[in-house]
């Protein structure tokens, strides 16, 4: 039966994660603990040499998640809140839409709450004050309304469309 690693073990434990495309990533225990999902998984397995498979997360996205978690673990007591916020903003500033969405899905699956919050806020900021046409283009949304349905929803939200 597996046991929770004690502090010494925790400091030495390296967690292995395997992405969807079979790349192995090794992270410090403290970094993995940023994810509630991994925390629960490791509570069962203890410190193990077997890589935890993350079936739906690509290596590109997993690398970003790890980058975020590593920074936040190191920043925890050493870097000012303001500087952490600036770092977060830099991380997402030029992220394309697809990466943003994949990252939020990964963060949700891994239950990394402050990363989910950051992603939600970033997407919300990109939505604000955009016209319908701009939104459609930025977020690649296909229109699946019938002409009647579209006319109705446009009519109901007419006030929101004027400038």
């Amino acid at each position: 039966m597996a046991e929770l690693p004690n502090t010494t073990m925790a400091n030495e434990c390296k967690v292995k994660l395997k992405s969807k495309d079979d790349k192995i990533f090794e992270v410090e225990y403290a970094v993995a603990m940023q994810s509630q999902t991994l925390k629960n998984a490791l509570a069962h397995t203890g410190c193990t040499d077997t890589a935890l498979p993350l079936h739906d997360i690509s290596s590109q996205i997993l690398a970003k998640v790890i980058e975020y978690c590593e920074y936040h673990v190191n920043a925890a007591n050493t870097i000012s809140e303001k500087d952490v916020k600036t770092w977060d903003e830099e991380l997402v500033k030029h992220m394309d839409q697809d990466t943003l969405f994949r990252l939020i899905v990964a963060a949700k699956y891994l239950e990394i709450h402050n990363l989910v919050d950051l992603m939600c806020k970033t997407i919300a900021d990109r939505i604000k004050d955009k016209s319908v046409e701009e939104l459609r283009e930025i977020f690649h949304v296909q229109n699946d309304f019938t002409p009647e349905e579209e006319e109705q929803v446009r009519r109901e939200t007419k006030w929101a469309h004027g400038e």
């Binding site: 992603m119 997407i123 955009k130 690649h140 349905e149």
Partner: protein, 305 residues
Amino acid sequence: MGDDLNEALLTMSDLPENCLSRVLELTTPKDVCRVSVLCRALKFAGNSNCVWEKMLPPHHRDLLARACNPLQFNSKKELYFSLCEPVSIDKGTKKFWLDKATGKACFMLSPRDLAITWGGDDRYWHWISRDGSSFEDIAELIAVCWFEVQGVFDCKLLSPGIAYTVSFKLKLNGPASNHRRRLGTMIHAFHMNHRSPYGWDIKPVKFSVTTSWGHQQQSARFLRNTENPVDNEGYQMTSFRHVGKGWMEFDAGEFFVEENEDGPKEVKFYMNELIGGDWKGGLLLEGVKIQPSYLVTERHNVREE
């Protein structure tokens, strides 16, 4: 196992539902409505109660409990849009509504909600009824030396995190019109003699706003010949706007409502002319408006009609 390169791009509607809700909650009512036009899934997400609950002011349940007429609604979204039209509360002494684009709370207080010195004495003030006014009764100043109107408001009812402006909505009497005057519980139709405004050129009226957390603003303005300087009295000039049909809104002051603060928070506002000792009259007071400051700065001056 798919190859990354061949995967279709994710769209907003691919997000897990509670993520999408979270995202929309962080935008504004206007944005949510625009997103709803994109596709069926987003229209559905944009109608959710979680999203619209977040758009309503934190104390909307208290306000609904104080409404004169109960509101009917089948969803939070419906409730939101119902509240974009003014709702009478507190036995008709106040009105409240939401700014549609942002959901921020706005209030108008009737003169009945204010403390008007000598207001109960009909030698000095009348209570009249006028078509098109916000309230059943508005106050008409016949004549006073001691011109003093004050009020107080519980800031807990306001939307936190923004600045608010308090304005007195008033008008100097125009040509005679058919007022209906309230005498006790009866309303009589009178053809009033032309009661020209007078006495407003001598001293400026002073305005102030004071909050229970120690913020204070003071200013002054002549109600007639409004460009006459007041700085020889040591005051800033009160901002004001024409809002149509001769009405003007004078901004008594501005204050910021902090988020997450406990303890009682109230704002007091004050309009007076006490030092001149001159008689003044011929003024109508429709009430006090308390609205987000961004709405005030967006307004253009409306030419008098």
